[in-house]
């Protein structure tokens, strides 16, 4: 930190220098776009003298101006730029393409392309999408920003707010994560500083992604960080915000009295004696015994009404004729909502980019260093796990007090006190220090031939310390311990070290022969990854306050593991266009992976694509050119690969072709911890690449002076040779190996419509997006599917919900009674339920009409587990110094399923009733939502049926922000270019029919759910230049 500050001061001194004033003189400037190409025809207006000029075909303009005059540079398809004239006479201006412009430059694999010449399905996200939002992980900020991109599994827990990104849904049973490259090197986009991001490209189809071959079948995301600009004055920017997070939904638990009454009812219903007497219920009502008959709402006791979040960011950028720099430091702090203040996330990002161009008139050198230090603090017990505070807040009895009257922690059996776990149970601190470095040199061998070599390294050092403290609960009667958890206390340290090295070499050649334009790219890449971990633990620490190994006195253990992989690739691309009207592109990658045996190791992933810019055809231009500015048809077809199996980071993932023997736990022999060795997973030497064939057809249109834009894509993707574990009989005795046996098809449509205009002083833009993807299992080998709640079955969507159909709740009329008064159902039931079914139970439907309900013959696919019909709206408007952004996102069709304690009550001891359970079936409330209570019986609650499937569709106001920039004339004397204040709110409003206690964006849970938060922030941006 101190070093960073020092470096910052140094820069500041170097780049801020005095400027003198003089009278009007001729100044010159050069206007370029983001890829440093000249912008021809840009208009330059001296706002003081009202003189106008136009840039020539090399982007150069000349105009007369005095010091402090403001020049306004405008060009169709680009955002306006301003220069305040200073002492110098030579300026360079870089224009940034509009959000929806077809002029924009798009980062593609191993290069950039103008939007007009792109033939694949590529979406670009500009920095604006992430600006001023309290985004703690970049992935969540991309939700709804790109048609076809969905995020799943986002959590509210500090430091774990990132989601998994899915591009065009899921079309494999394996790793479905998109490949993410940051400035060309694989990395984790979540933790880079959102303020450092210049743009994000999402490569969706085979044409765009095939150049990344073996890892591209789930799409590719290219994150490009900001650079300084050549010939640009130094700019110092500070931006920061302070925000408050508030939980959106919390389960509403019932108090003790209703719980006790309902428990008695649930027990009576199944013929068991009642636990509580009326006198005891009265004790709870009067609060006469606050130690044993308390009235606690655990979610309320555990979860605070708000928690702060703050972010500070400072950057310095600029450049001279042949050198530019960008330097930034960002700090994020997010506190957790749990009492005890243990939960915390700290993130420090530093980035330094130094680029020198045309050294010796020949070489460009780029360096890019990023440093990330992040720390996630949580309780020793995993937050959402069965023993963690969130889950236990639902499994702890309302009769138990948070603290006994004696002041010690309350305990009532069955479940630990969640507040104790969060406060006194010890901690789990994870720190990660990640250094990324890219160095590249581009040699301009000839005017149109260059060679670029880049070395990238990502070195990660992580440490996790889990300190589990002993929690002793004392009897309020005797003061003696009644229950001890976390005994003996223990400390465990784990170090993880990994190193990813990436070495890329590429040749770029381009030639223009009259109307023929050819670009060729050829390259070689290799990548190695090495991971090692080391852990040590001890128990019986002599103090509960000093969490270090050295004071542990017993059970010293240690362990370690290591993995590695390597990739080697050749890749190439040929672009050809005729008059920029007929576009062709061919991509190919030849990939080798260490994950397969020699014979299966290498594979080719090619793609072809073509585009026709029909709006440039004379006959079309003549007919409708007045209102059609751009029109392009695109088509692509190609093959993409996926080398990841189903097992995650385990040896079977890295060496699936080898039968390996690893260390396994076993029973203690000779009175000590004993190690065994065994094979735990079968190998498959024939394993090979999983591949996706993908067809994409798209259209880009721009109307009415580019004010209205439209992009549409349709794709059909078939993933074959999916590596999956067939459901083989367990007589095998080992985990089944991956085999190339699956085929999944996936089809989808993506539409984006944009409108941009102004009404007088109000300029505004609206973007609407819609996309939908449907997948279907085509083939799964010869094995029969195992019929579980989620099923992989040919002909149905992947991991579909599978269960019973129901006919509502049974009523008196559905039964006859035997002489002893026992209910005899007139409808079919499970044999195992015989004698237990009564009015108020769910009626399952006998699909095969054999008179009984059976697990093997009466279930069917109930619904798709993936969200469908995703849509979003983004509105941007500005009026004078005010600007307003509104972002809405939604899903029109989705299924969710809440199981266990999240939804059910009294079907186990630890499932407590919620307010919604007041509407349960009783003889007086036969029109109920919830079935009758059946104590410790899960006949109603434990079987997945259409009765329990939730509608997880939603519409959410993801973000709204209002900004006010002070007028430039007020602040220019302070050398400020911008001073902007903003207020912003995330997740302020949600419309959904989903179960009230949880969030439709995480639609499947069993109750261990950290609440989704809404965040209000206030922030400021100051830019000195």
């Amino acid at each position: 930190m101190r070093k960073i500050l020092f470096a910052f001061t140094l820069f500041f001194t170097l780049i801020v220098h005095a400027q003198d004033k003089s009278t009007q003189k001729q100044i010159t400037g050069k206007i370029t776009d983001e890829s440093n190409q000249p912008v021809e025809g840009a208009t330059v207006l001296n706002k003081k003298t009202k003189v106008t000029t136009v840039a020539d075909n090399t982007g150069v303009f000349r105009i007369a101006a005095s010091v402090a005059d403001e020049l306004l540079i405008t060009s169709v398809g680009y955002s306006d730029a301003r220069i305040t004239v200073s002492g110098q006479t030579d300026y360079s201006v870089q224009l940034v393409a509009n959000n929806v412009s077809l002029n924009e430059v798009v980062v593609v694999g191993y290069g950039t392309q103008k939007r007009t010449s792109v033939t694949g399905a590529v979406s670009k996200v500009t920095a604006k999408v992430l600006e001023n939002r309290p985004v703690t992980a970049v992935s969540t900020g991309l939700e709804g920003a790109v048609p076809g991109l969905t995020t799943t599994g986002a959590k509210g827990q500090p430091g774990l707010t990132h989601s998994e990104i899915r591009i065009r849904g899921v079309s494999t049973t394996n790793n479905a994560n998109a490949l993410v490259l940051i400035d060309g090197v694989p990395g984790d986009m979540n933790w880079i500083n959102p303020d450092d991001i210049a743009s994000v490209s999402v490569l969706k189809d085979a044409a765009a992604a095939a150049i990344y071959g073996s890892r591209a079948s789930n799409g590719v995301i290219l994150v490009t960080t900001k650079n300084g600009r050549l010939n640009d004055k130094p700019a110092i920017t500070y931006s920061g915000y302070y925000g408050i997070q508030k939980p959106i939904n919390l389960p509403k638990m019932l108090g003790s009295v209703e719980y006790m009454q309902m428990l008695n009812e649930a027990q009576s219903n199944v013929g068991l004696p009642k636990t509580y007497t009326d006198a005891q219920i009265e004790t709870a009502r009067t609060g006469a015994d606050p130690d044993y008959f308390a009235n606690t709402s655990w979610p309320k006791a555990l979860i605070k009404s708000s928690a702060p979040q703050s972010n500070h960011n400072i950057s310095v950028s600029g450049g001279s004729k042949d050198f530019n720099y960008y330097f930034s430091y960002g700090r994020l702090n997010q506190k957790g909502l749990l009492t005890g203040d243990l939960y915390n996330f700290d993130k420090n990002n530093a980035r330094l980019k130094l680029n020198a161009v045309k050294l010796l008139d020949l070489i460009d050198v780029e360096t890019n260093f990023g440093y990330l230090d992040r720390q996630i603090d949580q309780s020793a017990q995993d937050l959402a796990g069965d023993a963690g505070p969130i889950y236990t807040a639902l499994t702890a009895s309302p009769l138990t007090p948070v603290r006994f009257t004696t002041g010690t922690w309350g305990y009532g059996g069955g479940s630990s006190n969640p507040v104790t776990i969060a406060t006194d149970g010890g901690f789990n601190k994870f720190t990660s220090r990640e250094l990324t470095g890219n160095i590249s040199a581009t040699i301009h061998i000839l005017k149109n031939l260059s060679f670029r070599s880049q070395y990238g390294i990502q070195s990660v050092n992580q440490h996790r310390k889990i300190f589990s403290r002993t929690q002793i609960y004392y009897s309020p009667q005797t003061g003696l311990p009644i229950y001890t958890a976390g005994s003996p206390n223990s400390v465990r340290d784990i170090d993880y070290v990994s190193k990813l090295q990436n070495f890329t070499n590429q040749f770029d050649y381009s030639v223009k022969l009259r109307d023929h334009h050819i670009k060729v790219l050829a390259g070689y890449q290799q990548e190695t990854f090495l991971y090692e971990s080391f852990s040590a633990s001890r128990t019986n620490l002599v103090s509960d306050d000093v969490p270090v190994q050295n004071i542990g006195t017993a059970n010293q253990t240690n362990g370690g593991d290591a993995y590695q992989y390597a990739l080697q690739s050749l890749f190439g691309r040929v672009n050809y266009d005729y008059k920029e009207k007929y576009l062709f592109e061919f991509n190919m990658r030849y990939d080798g992976s260490s994950r397969y045996l020699q014979d299966q190791r290498w594979a080719i992933f090619p793609s072809v694509s073509a585009g026709w810019r029909f709006a440039s055809e004379k006959f079309i231009n003549k007919a409708i050119g007045k209102w059609l500015n751009e029109g392009k048809l695109r088509a692509s077809y190609g093959l993409l690969g996926n080398q990841y199996g189903a097992d995650g980071p385990a040896f079977s993932e890295w060496y699936p072709y080898l039968g390996v023997i690893t260390s396994v736990g076993t029973m203690p022999i000779g009175g000590v911890l004993t190690t065994g060795m065994a094979q735990t997973i079968l190998s498959n030497p024939n394993l090979r690449w999983e591949r996706s064939k993908m067809l994409n057809i798209g259209i880009d249109l721009a109307f009415l002076k580019n004010r209205l834009t439209f992009t549409g894509d349709w794709f059909n993707k078939k993933t074959i040779d999916i590596q999956l574990k067939q459901q083989l009989p367990d007589v095998l005795g080992l985990t089944v190996p991956d085999q190339n046996v699956g085929t999944i098809s996936s089809k989808g449509i993506e539409l984006a419509l944009g409108w941009k205009d102004n009404i007088g002083p109000v300029s505004y833009g609206i973007t609407a997006m819609y996309f939908n993807t449907i997948n279907k299992v085509i083939y799964l080998g010869n094995s029969t599917p195992v019929q579980a709640d989620r099923i992989q079955w040919v002909g149905y969507p992947l991991d579909a919900f599978y269960g019973y159909l129901t006919d509502g709740l049974a009523q008196e009329a559905d039964f006859t009674k035997d002489p002893s008064g026992k209910y005899l159902p007139k409808f079919p039931i499970f044999t195992a339920d015989a004698g237990r079914v009564a009015p108020g139970d769910i009626k399952y439907r006998d699909l095969n009409k054999d008179g009984v309900i059976t697990a093997d013959k009466d279930r069917q696919v109930l619904g798709d587990a993936f969200p469908h019909h995703n849509y979003s709206f983004r509105l941007e408007a500005s009026y004078k110094n005010f600007d307003l952004n509104i972002f809405l996102q939604g899903v029109a069709q989705a299924n969710g399923y809440i199981s266990g304690i999240g939804l059910h009550a009294l079907d186990r001891d630890a499932a407590f009733p919620q307010e919604i359970h007041r509407d349960r079936w009783t003889p007086d409330n036969t029109d109920a939502w919830y079935p009758r209570f059946t104590y410790k019986e899960t006949r109603n609650s434990g079987r997945l049926s259409d009765y329990w499937l939730q509608n997880a569709a939603y519409l959410r106001l993801k973000n709204i922000q209002l900004g006010y920039s002070l007028p430039r004339k007020w602040i220019s004397r302070l050398k400020m270019e911008q001073l902007k204040f903003f207020v912003s709110g995330d997740n302020l409003f949600t419309k959904t029919k989903f179960y009230y206690a949880f969030d439709p964006e995480v639609a499947t849970t069993s109750g261990g759910f950290y609440p989704q938060v809404k965040t209000f922030t206030f922030g400021v941006t100051v830019k000195f230049k």
């Binding site: 013929g271 080898l658 690893t662």
Partner: protein
């Protein structure tokens, strides 16, 4: 440029050959004694432990009033989706795979003494037999897998083998193990199976399948090893109890009775038995049933329905004049208690037990039947979760003696001398009146019933009751209501808490009713649905399922 070209050229051809960094490839394993030993260790992972005691819930000795997988099985209210039956299938075959893997490869080892090699092979053969025995106990006919399978092997989808063929393998493996295994080990190998362990298991399996001669001769072989004797601390009132606490751990040295066990070690591997028996804020997971309580003879050697010494006038009276094993198994007034507040008049914790607790105020351990276990309870760890490290005994010498007596009875060769050398040793340990064939006849009792009773009483809570009921073809016992104490014996101040507790015609608490046992269906488990779905060739289902 030159540097780059050099780098490119320097890329080795085997750049992509990346071998595992933390595991050993199968082909290069199986060389040394240490490698073999570690592979054998891995095979012990699925040796049954506390799970055996949990299986007592399938019988009629104990109940946890709300439902559980094992209770459902005992009550006959389950089907092929019951999770525990599939878990058993999966775990047992996983253990068998490890054994087969060893048995296919051990011959590759060069750096090992023949004695060690013999021992290791013996251990693994025993373990394979142990796993297969449970498979046939549960399912009858099962696939017989004796080699490591690959996904393409036909056997993966093969049909079931006849129970007798599996049994033949079990006996073969055990015979081989008996020859190869050493009779004892040094302390560093404590827990490994011994010759006696293999013999003892063979005796159990033979008994289960009614092979009385094998059961008798094998039990006799164990007796003739002269290695084992009943544990005693010199005090008849506590010897039996101590065997199931820390004092009786095999590692403690005094226990020469336990033949086969699953060791537990402090902080390393522990279970939760003590807490489950007397959990101080919930209902005990193991509540002894009336049926078990009634099984204990009175000190005159007569059952409760015949003995004049028996009185049910008060709760305390039930425990008077009974087989001394009763107080060392079932908690009696005055016994050591870890369950905090009991059912006495005040609401304060007690260290010795007075009367059963019915008030669900979370101040102490509740009972469903009116009874608690004291056997297997190490009071010092009741207050913490999973902190028990007493051994779980799988076969102890007492069972060998019982096996011998029962097998001899079935063979028709049981003599009073045999009884003196077996059952009466058990009775002598606790000071119970000796069993006499003559007395039994004189009192109009049935010898077989009494031998069975002896087994039930001696081995209560050791996980054998369900299997004994099955092999004795006494399935209908499982269909009887599970009952507890007489409700009228509960103190007046506790009556409010049991107001809704149902009773039978005689006033005994009914804990579990509408139980089902259908013969022959319930003498075997159904094949798990998951398995028949994965391999339809396993069908047809077991009879009746």
């Amino acid at each position: 440029m030159l540097v780059l070209l050099t780098l490119l050229a320097g890329c080795k051809k085997n750049f992509l050959d990346r071998l595992p960094l933390d595991s050993i490839v199968d082909e290069s394993y199986w060389k040394t004694e240490e490698q073999l030993k570690l592979a054998v260790n891995g095979c012990y992972n699925n040796l049954k432990g506390k799970n055996v005691v949990d299986m007592e819930n399938m019988g009629d000795n104990t109940i946890y009033p709300p439902s559980s997988d094992y209770q459902s099985i005992g009550a006959g209210k389950f089907d092929f989706t019951n999770g525990s039956i599939n878990t058993e299938w999966v775990n047992l075959y996983a253990a068998i795979r490890r054994c087969n893997h060893f048995l296919e490869n051990y011959q590759k080892a060069t750096d090992i003494t023949p004695a060690k090699l013999n021992q290791y092979v013996g251990e693994v053969k025993f373990l394979r037999a142990f796993m297969y025995a449970y498979l046939v106990f549960f399912f009858g006919d099962v696939p017989l897998i004796t080699n490591t399978l690959d996904i393409n092997d036909e056997q993966v989808f093969g049909p079931r083998a006849k129970k007798d063929d599996v049994l033949a393998l079990i006996m073969n493996d055990l015979d081989s193990a008996i020859i190869k295994l050493p009779a004892t080990y040094g302390t560093a190998d404590l827990g490994r199976v011994t010759k006696g362990g293999a013999l003892a298991w063979k005796s159990r399996v033979a008994l289960f399948f009614g092979k009385w001669d094998v059961a008798a001769t094998t039990a006799k072989s164990v007796m003739d090893l002269n290695l084992y004797k009943l544990y005693s601390n010199g005090n008849m009132a506590t010897s039996y109890y101590d065997l199931f606490t820390y004092k009786g751990r095999v590692a403690a040295g005094a226990n020469k009775e336990t033949i086969l066990f699953r060791p537990y070690v402090q902080d390393v591997s522990m279970h939760n038995m003590s807490r489950e028996c007397q959990v101080p804020d919930q209902t005990s997971r193991f509540c002894p049933t009336k049926s078990l309580v009634d099984a204990y003879l009175c000190t005159d050697g007569l059952p409760v329905d015949k003995s004049p010494l028996y009185s049910e006038a008060s709760y305390a009276d039930i425990f008077k004049n009974r087989d001394p094993r009763m107080k060392q198994t079932i908690l009696s007034p005055g016994g050591t208690w870890g369950g905090q507040d009991d059912g006495d008049a005040d609401a304060s914790p007690n260290s010795s037990f007075n009367s059963p607790k019915w008030d669900a105020d979370k101040k102490g351990c509740l009972t469903g039947t009116g009874y608690y276990f004291t056997k297997y309870v190490e009071v010092s760890v009741v207050g913490a979760v999973s902190r028990d490290y007493n051994d779980i005994h799988l076969v102890r010498y007492a069972e060998i003696l019982l096996n011998y007596a029962e097998a001899k009875l079935e063979l028709g060769t049981l003599t009073q001398t045999d009884i003196d050398n077996t059952i009466n040793l058990l009775r002598d340990r606790v000071g119970m009146k000796r069993m006499s064939i003559a007395d039994i006849a004189a009192n109009g009792l049935d010898l077989k019933t009494e031998i069975h009773r002896e087994r039930r009483v001696e081995l209560a809570l050791e996980g054998q009751r369900y299997f004994d009921i099955l092999r004795w073809k006494e399935g209908p016992l499982l269909a009887q209501d599970i009952k507890g104490m007489k409700k009228s014996l509960i103190e007046p101040y506790n009556q409010q808490y049991v107001a809704t507790v149902p009773v039978d015609a005689q006033g005994y608490i009914v804990v579990n009713t509408t139980r089902i046992f259908t013969a022959p269906k319930n003498y075997l488990w159904p094949l798990p649905l998951t398995q028949t779905q994965k391999n339809p060739n396993l069908l047809p289902q077991n009879q009746g399922w």
